[in-house]
Amino acid sequence: MSSVFEPIKPRTAPIKTEGLIPWIRTNLFGGWSSTAVTLVLMALAVYLVPRLLDWAVFKAVFAANADACQAARGIGACWGVIVEKFRLIIFGRYPYEDQWRPEIATALLVALLIVSCIRRFWKPWLAVLWIVVVPLFFLLMGGGWFGLEPVSTDQWGGLPLTIMLATFGIVLAYPIAIVVALGRRSNLPAIRSLCIVYIELIRGVPLISVLFMASFLFPLFMPVGKTPDVLLRVLVGITLFSAAYLAEVVRGGLQAIPKGQVEAAQSLGLSYWQTQRKIVLPQALAMVVPGIMNSFIAIFKDTSLVTIVSLYELTGAMSLALNSDAEWRPFKIEGYLFIAFIYFIFCFAMSRYSLWIEHQLGRSRTR
């Protein structure tokens, strides 16, 4: 009985599951409905994309030439309007020859913000940096020293104003928010109710009513004959508004601290404020950095509302620049697209950062 070893035939290799072509097969043509959707969308792209490119690039006018733009109307975009009105859109009504001042001031502020976003720099000297840069910002913008021409706040405008309102709206709201959030979780009924009333009142009304209040009612609240500066009033309004939202963010962090932490602190004999300052807040505030970032994005977008109470930040400056000039007024849509792009860049970058920092802070917990 001789048996010859006969190997079983090898199985055919499985269909490749990695690489470009398998990816296309599963993600674009996986099944009837998916294939149909892909084909319809591709047909739509073939129809739309060339037209869009024609309008935005190939037939667009890039030179600041109103006649050429007028001729290309309806066929191509007129990006020349941005070239022509760039400084008015970005800086608003700030005096033309002094525009290097908002440039430097805003660059400093943005650099400070970026530095503050990097975890390695979360050190005591960062606070010192803030104390130095913030007055410098206002001195540069306002002038009136060192031979700089004084520029009144109603002439500030454009991107510097947007960045400034958003930054100080959040930075000034931060301490208020912490106090109010602690107050809302306090055991003292009077303080708790006051904080709840404040938070719910502000969160229940739109920002625009707070801005109306800032522009119509704050002058009435002051002693007779004193009217605070319009920028200051609006800044106070935005701060009070964002403080209520931030307080809820901070409260979320406070609630996430296990009760054992507080009890452990109490058993060590720490007082209420010591417990909050040394045990609760450091953990809670680190936890809510993404939430704070989201509030910052929201406020950055919401600053566009101050144009309704006649402060010319980016949106207002754009309208101001084009409405006053009959020659360029027809090309407002390009102007809107341009500032929409600026807002998008800022907000998108911040939301990416927020995701990244969330991941960074979560590392210690997901280990």
Binding site: V37, V205, F212, L220, M222
Partner: protein, 392 residues
């Protein structure tokens, strides 16, 4: 040995926590009270100095301005309170339509993030990132500009089958001519809803008793439709529709959505739906995959698994942030003032400029929004309690 009496706990010294708490509270209340008193005094003094009158008496005086679009009949001779009512109704109209549309669009986009097709996924992602990173005010202004500048004038209106007209005069669509048939149909639908609710209760009860599954969606919907149809037939089955037609410089027939309304609605819906899409996506992501596998292993079909297992659990995560998005949409409708849609803020702004009564007008705005916000969140809290985990 006599028992020692418990130590007296009332300790009126700074060492007592209760005493300190009391002092803090008294100080806080006094400080706030003084602040309010001070501001009121200043306001009264300022009003006296500037000769501003106060009080809500102006509400009964004639408003003297016209309003572009109204839900209820209104003209310039009507009192201010009527004008405010028109504004409130306009706000509610855009908010309610907006909430419904944003929910539908947002849910579709959120589910689209999980589509098998990569292009659909990519488009949904791009949509969300673009629309939520541009200020809503800017979007409203852009839509308004497109509505009034880019769309053709009425005599060149874009017509869809002769039924819908889109021009810089707004969007005109056909409406049925209101008559007995429509009224009876509406009554039928309302009666049908009641019957359907009772049917659902009965069907659930039967399920608990016998375990037999009865349709909880299709049959109630069929009941409502049948009841409405019955009413329509009882009213003589009217088929008259008012279709729009261009007559010179105006549209005859149909119903018009003004460019302002369209711009506010589009801006709010597109902006809010981007946020709702993210909420829905996060909600679906929060249901663990084991749940899907468990549903499959007990023999549920894919739609059953979605309806009975995934959605009820996802809803728990979705509802609270969805509530705040609804509130945001309502509050953002106040931006309509920037493009001249006559919502309550815009009416209040006009009234403020005419009468100079800043305190009263701003108080009215805030009261309207606070009422809407608080009642919406009360309703959503009730719904949330129904959807929340029932822990024993």
């Amino acid at each position: 040995m006599p028992e020692r009496s418990a130590p007296k706990r009332r300790d009126w010294s700074w060492r007592s926590q209760a005493f300190r708490g009391l002092v803090y509270q008294i100080v806080a209340v006094l400080a706030i009270g003084y602040g309010i008193w001070y501001l009121t005094q200043n306001t009264l003094a300022n009003m006296a100095a500037r000769g501003i009158q106060s009080g809500f008496g102006f509400l009964t005086g004639a408003a003297g301005f016209d309003i572009g679009e109204t839900v209820i009949p209104y003209d310039a001779l009507d009192p201010y309170w009527m004008a405010f009512l028109v504004g409130i109704l306009n706000t509610l109209r855009v908010a309610i339509v907006g909430i419904v549309l944003a929910t539908l669009l947002g849910t579709a986009l959120g589910i689209g993030r999980y589509a098998h097709n990569a292009i659909v996924r990519g488009l949904c992602y791009a949509y969300v990132e673009f629309f939520r990173n541009v200020p809503v005010l800017l979007q409203l202004l852009m839509w308004y500009l497109i509505m009034t500048d880019v769309l053709p004038p009425l005599y060149e209106a874009i017509s869809i089958g002769g039924l819908f007209l889109l021009s810089n005069n707004g969007f005109v669509f056909p409406v049925p001519v209101w008559g007995m048939g429509q009224l009876l149909s509406l009554i039928g639908a309302v009666v049908g809803i009641f019957v359907a609710v009772f049917y659902r209760r009965w069907a659930k009860h039967q399920f608990e008793l016998t375990g037999r599954v009865r349709s909880l969606v299709l049959v109630p919907v069929a009941i409502v439709i049948a009841a409405a149809l019955l009413g329509w037939i009882a009213g003589g089955a009217p088929t008259a529709w008012s279709t729009p037609a261009v007559d010179g410089f105006q549209v005859v027939g149909g119903a018009t959505a003004t460019p302002e309304f369209m711009a506010v609605l589009l801006g709010l819906v597109l902006y809010t739906s981007a946020f709702i899409a993210e909420i829905v996506r996060a909600g679906i992501a929060s249901v663990s995959h084991g749940q899907v596998e468990a549903a499959a292993s007990i023999g549920l079909s894919k739609t059953q698994a979605m309806r009975l297992v995934i959605l009820p659990q996802a809803l728990r995560v979705i509802i609270p942030p969805m509530t705040s998005q609804y509130l945001n949409l309502t509050k953002n409708s106040s931006l309509a003032v920037a493009i001249g849609y006559p919502d309550v803020v815009s009416i209040a702004n006009t009234a403020l400029n005419q009468t100079g009564r800043a305190v009263e007008c701003i108080a009215i705005i805030m009261a309207v929004y606070l009422t809407t916000s608080l009642s919406t969140s009360a309703f959503m809290n009730w719904y949330n309690r129904r959807a929340a985990i029932k822990e024993r």
